[in-house]
Each structure stands twice: as C-alpha cells, then as structure tokens.
C-alpha cells in the first residue's frame, strides 16, 4: 500500500520535486503555482499501486504544506488536481478534516470525482452521506467495484434504497446496473 514514505522514495530522483518541496516548506503559498503544474514539472509516469508521478508529487506537496492549504488547493483545483487531493487524503495526518472536500466532490456531476470520493478516505463519511453516495454511483453508472469497504458497510437501509431505485428503473423499462443487483442479492442473504 502507498504511504507518504513509499511515494517519497519512488520520487527521490526527481530533482524538480525535491527543490519544489523545499520551496513549499519555506513558503507554503508557493504550492498555489506548483500544484497545478505537477504534470509538466514532474512527469506523468506510472508508479506502483496505481499511482502516477504527478499524483504522488501532489500528495507530497500537500504533506509539505500546512493542513489549511489543502482546502485552498482543492478549491482552486482543476479536475486532475481535485482527483489528486482526494487520492492523497487518506495518507495525510488530518483526521476527518478532509470530509468537506469529499462532500464537495459528491455534489458534482463528474463521475470521476464522485468515484474518487468513495476511496479509502470515505471511511470518514457519515453512514447516511455514504449511502447517498453509493446510490449516486448506481444512478450515474459509476462501477461499484471502486467503492471502499462496500460489502462491509452496505446495510439494510441501503438495500431498501436500491430496491426502490430498481422499481423506478423497472417502471421506466430500464434496468439497474448488474453490480447494484449483485449488491442487493448480497444484502438479502445477510
């Protein structure tokens, strides 16, 4: 599993990043110009565990800045930046301070942001918010296989919501995605 130490090690040869991390440590506001430019400054090569250089560099930049910068970086981020912040959240020592960012992502209509909000950091989401998020995935056609701890967290209330949704879809002559049906079956058996 990726940790900040693993990512730091993976990028230890990246001299641009090494210099920029030192800059951000000295002047946290420098992150405003460096974070968006990550692909151009550090590259976009694949690393282990589904990370890329730019995503890992962005996680390390966030770790080098004071926690209050995280919300600002997310606020002004384009989609790739927002996705990188969401991916970095579980690695950062911020407790549940990142929950408003997940809630922001879940309000969007961008399937990539909604999917990213349901990664490991979604452990911090309240159960009712989490259920709505899972249902939104089903509604938008976001595959459920990416939802962190889905089988463990799914409860009878989510089952009731999915059954009602399946009924509406059925009335419209449409079907619910197969992964949502599979989840319903699992909930019935429990």
């Amino acid at each position: 599993m990726a940790t900040l130490d693993v990512l730091k090690n993976d990028l230890s040869e990246n001299t641009n990043l090494r210099d920029d991390l030192a800059r951000v440590t000295k002047d946290p506001n420098a992150i405003a110009g460096l974070f968006p430019a990550a692909r151009r400054r550090y590259g976009q090569e694949p690393l282990a565990d589904g990370w890329t250089t730019d995503e890992a560099a962005r996680a390390l930049l966030l770790a080098a800045a004071p926690a209050e910068q995280i919300g600002e970086v997310y606020r002004y981020g384009d989609t790739a930046e927002k996705l990188a912040v969401l991916k970095a959240l579980p690695l950062l020592p911020i407790g549940d301070a990142g929950v408003p960012l997940l809630e922001d992502a879940l309000r969007t209509n961008d399937t990539r942001l909604v999917a990213a909000a349901l990664g490991p950091y979604s452990d911090h989401l309240a159960q009712d918010t989490w259920r709505q998020a899972v249902l939104k995935c089903v509604f938008m056609g976001v595959p459920l296989k990416g939802v962190h701890r889905l089988a463990e967290r799914a409860d009878p209330e989510l089952g009731a919501m999915l059954r009602a949704f399946a009924l509406e879809r059925h009335a419209a002559g449409r079907d619910m995605p197969p992964d949502a049906h599979a989840l319903l079956d699992q909930l019935k058996e429990a």
Binding site: G33, P36, A37, R39, R40, Y76, A80, T108
Partner: protein, 283 residues
Amino acid sequence: MRIFDPHIHMTSRTTDDYQRMAEAGVRAVVEPAFWLGQPRTNPGSFTDYFDSIIGWEPFRASQFGIRHHATIALNPKEANDPRCRPVLDLLPRYLAKDGVVAVGEIGYDSMTPAEDEVFAAQLALALDHDLPALVHTPHRDKARGTLRSLDVIKESGIDPGRVALDHLNEVTVEDAREAGVWIGFSIYPDTKMSPDRMVEILRKYGTERVLVNSAADWGKSDPLLTVRTAEAMLAGGFGAGDVDRLLWRNPVEFYAQSGRLDLSDIEEAEATFAGNSILRGGS
C-alpha cells in the same frame, strides 16, 4: 473534415450543440473566458466561472468526443468594475493549469483608462506564464480599437506571433496583418463576418496565420459556422488541404505555443479508427 474551433463559449450552449458539432466534425474547441449576458459583481463569481470552463465543460465535451481547452482572463468590459478587479490577483492560479492554453479574452470594450491598465497587466501575465494571448477587438469603434490594441501589444514586448487579434473584418484586417499577429475572424449569422465574406478575405490574404471561429455564445450565433465556412471554401475553389490548414492545423499551431495543448485522446481515437480493427467490426 476535422474542425478545431479556436473560440467558442460552450458554457452558453446545450448538449444538442455538442452533439451536432461532433457529428459535423468538430473535434476540439478552445473556450475563452469572457463576459456573460449578466454583469458579475464580485471575484467569486469569476472563479466559479473559471472552474466551470476548466472543469465541467471539458467533462461535458469529452462525452461527445470533443477535446476542450480554455483561456483565462478578466474581460475588458468587467475590468471597468472595481468590484471585479481583485480577480486579477487570482489569475495566476488559473494560468498555471494544464488545460489553459492562453491568456484571454483581453483587449478593449470602451477603451477606458481602466481597460488600458488591465489589458497591459494581462499581457504581462502572458509573458510571465509563457502563454499566448487572445485579444478581443471592440464591437464599437472597432478600427480605432484595433490600432490601439496593436500599440499596446507592441509596447508589452510579447512576440506578435504569440498573439491572436480576434473579431476582425475587411476594415481592420490589413493593420493586424502588418503587425505580425495571428488574425482571427468570428463567423456570425448576421453580424461580424459571414462564410462568403470570409472566403473573399482568404483569397486576398491566404490561410497563413489566420484563425476562423464561431465565437458562439449566448447571443444569436451558430456553432456550425466553422463548418459552413469550410463548405464555402470548397465551393469557392479551395482544396481540402487549405480547409484542414485553416480549421485544424492553424489553431493547433497557435495554441501549441502554450506547450499545453493536449490532443492525444483525439489522435488516439483517429489512429484507432484508421489503423485498428475494432471500429471496423473486428475484420
């Protein structure tokens, strides 16, 4: 036919437009930041708009196979409202984005001192961020506005080859051409420029350093007038190569000067279509 519309305000257009554009061959667009019908009153209103043209619009466009980039600036009209001016301090954040390929639209609306100041400040930002600039010429007093814009561009020290001067017509084209900037034409249903007039201009000046766009927005405009211009060129004796240069290779060349124009998705899709069996039914 592949079309790159170098200036279109998709935030004002419907998904039906995206559909029709994709069907007609539009594969890439650039959406410049500009004013909306309703004037804005605070910087937050701008940043939400910028977020939309670097976030939501590229996502919407991608659903139709269209690549979307943006240009970012404080437009000349709203540069006159002191409540909006603080957005200038937020521009560097946006000018650092991968999807931002120029500073724009900048230039003049009513040629006020405030517009002078904001125009010059944003040309300096283009130099700082190593970005080209997209300059709007005013709808009223256009000839004088064009000359004054060319003066400000010259004074700024930016390479004229990295500037597009837009919304030109028969009266203003000559001065812009001589100054060495890219010359832009917005093809509109009734105003600015028509496909047939455009063909005449191309006959006179050629296709080099010329950009043709629909500038479609919330007014009476048509996102397919780029395509109609291509058709008028073919009917008027231009070849397919001229059309491809004007409506694809030219905008690519202009915006590629940013170092950030990324058409890899589209090139991949075209490569797949041309060379791979999947889209030809597995044969």
